[in-house]
Symmetry: C2
Subunit: 241 residues, 2 copies
């Protein structure tokens, strides 16, 4: 499984993904699930992936080919597309195309080709936008009413987001929120695992403002996780039945 | 959907269920999902249900018929079975039988006959035992290592249980834990809803020690829920990134 979460806030966007991939319980590996594309000051696009690794890797490979192609246009390259909506369309169509190419072979073996992505980005002069791309290639967008999107194993980590994330949340609090949301998920589902990839894109920066990998045993994350456990247990003790 | 949770602790057992049932989003009703059977001081059995309402209702009806039957034996009646293990077997076999009877008709309409149950009980001279009965009628048992069982929409409410529930947890703390676990679930999933049924079976009481229905707007539950939200937000604010 996977857990990826993206917040779309007034101050910017915060993204967090795990890295665990598994084909059955006895075949576990670490794969990056967050991919960033920058033309600093002009355009930034970040993609997080969940689902079939062969589908998401092939989709990313095709997107990169189009970016590097000598005849790339705004219709084919996510770095030239005129709007973020067009970026989401290109990614959705590319993923749907990859699935279509392999689905008949995969289904022979009853292997799922399902996959989904979170796409976050901004181009100079435009707004920040964040999309969740479904396996079929269609998508929904984060809004002020629902300022976060999740893919993969999303349920364990949702209650904390529901309680603390608003559009006005600061980028610092947003990083705490996604890390604690991930912490709950890591504790409850073995198939979501460290290391983690964290990225912050401040509004109008049009670049990756901060990016960081948290390895297993990261002291900051361990301290936060422990402090949160202690705080929850203390709060629990104080509440009257 | 449904959310039911049962804790098996040194001091006793604590059970909580919601009451929302739906056939699609436009057909929502309230049905009790917790059923108790008592021969006070001699035997207590509590059953919580999730899944197809027609399957769980028919299963309960057949169990009651067997209890009331003039030729009931320890092989057929959960109130005469010699052990709690046998009680779980009777319930599992009854449910599997109900599903077998209707599955061909239900599958014509592509309606799921899946259902599951939590069974908790004690007979005089025996230990408290708690089982999760799967749709196929087989079951697992709560143990000291895993002192809680959940059925239905279990993910939102699991992190709090993972953090605070141990075999040594008091019955008072256990009631807080299941109510806060339900609170997280209610906030995140519309198809789980008030009122709630709460029951406590103290060790060696061999009866329902306490049973209570919490209606929508229950002031105690609302106060706890609000206090927990406030405590979580305060804790969140104090934690350093």
């Amino acid at each position: 499984m996977t857990y990826c979460v993206g917040l779309l806030l007034n101050a910017g966007m915060v993204l967090l993904s795990d890295t665990r991939t598994n084909g059955g319980l006895d075949n576990i590996a670490t794969y990056r699930k967050m991919f960033t594309f920058e033309d600093p000051g002009e355009r930034v696009v970040a993609i997080m992936t969940a689902g079939s690794l062969s589908v998401t890797q092939t989709t990313l490979a095709r997107l990169r080919e189009e970016i590097d192609s000598s005849d790339a246009t705004g219709e084919t390259s996510i770095m030239l597309a005129p709007t973020m909506l067009k970026v989401a369309e290109i990614i959705g169509n590319t993923m749907a195309g990859v699935r279509k190419d392999i689905v008949s072979r995969m289904e022979m073996e009853r292997v799922s080709t399902s996959a989904s992505m979170i796409v976050a980005g901004q181009r100079a002069g435009g707004e920040m936008r964040m999309f969740l791309i479904y396996p079929e290639g269609n998508f929904i967008e984060a809004t002020e009413d629902t300022p976060f999107l999740q893919i993969g194993e999303h349920k364990y980590g949702k209650p904390i987001l529901d309680r603390v994330v608003r559009s006005e949340t600061t980028l610092e609090d947003a990083q705490k929120a996604v890390l604690l949301s991930m912490d709950s998920t890591l504790r409850s589902n073995l198939s979501v695992g460290m290391p983690l990839d964290l990225a912050v894109i401040a509004n109008n920066d049009c670049k990756i403002t901060m990016q960081r990998r948290l390895e297993a045993g990261d002291p900051d994350f361990a301290r936060m996780s422990e402090a949160w456990s202690t705080a929850l247990r203390d709060s629990f003790t104080q509440i009257q039945l």
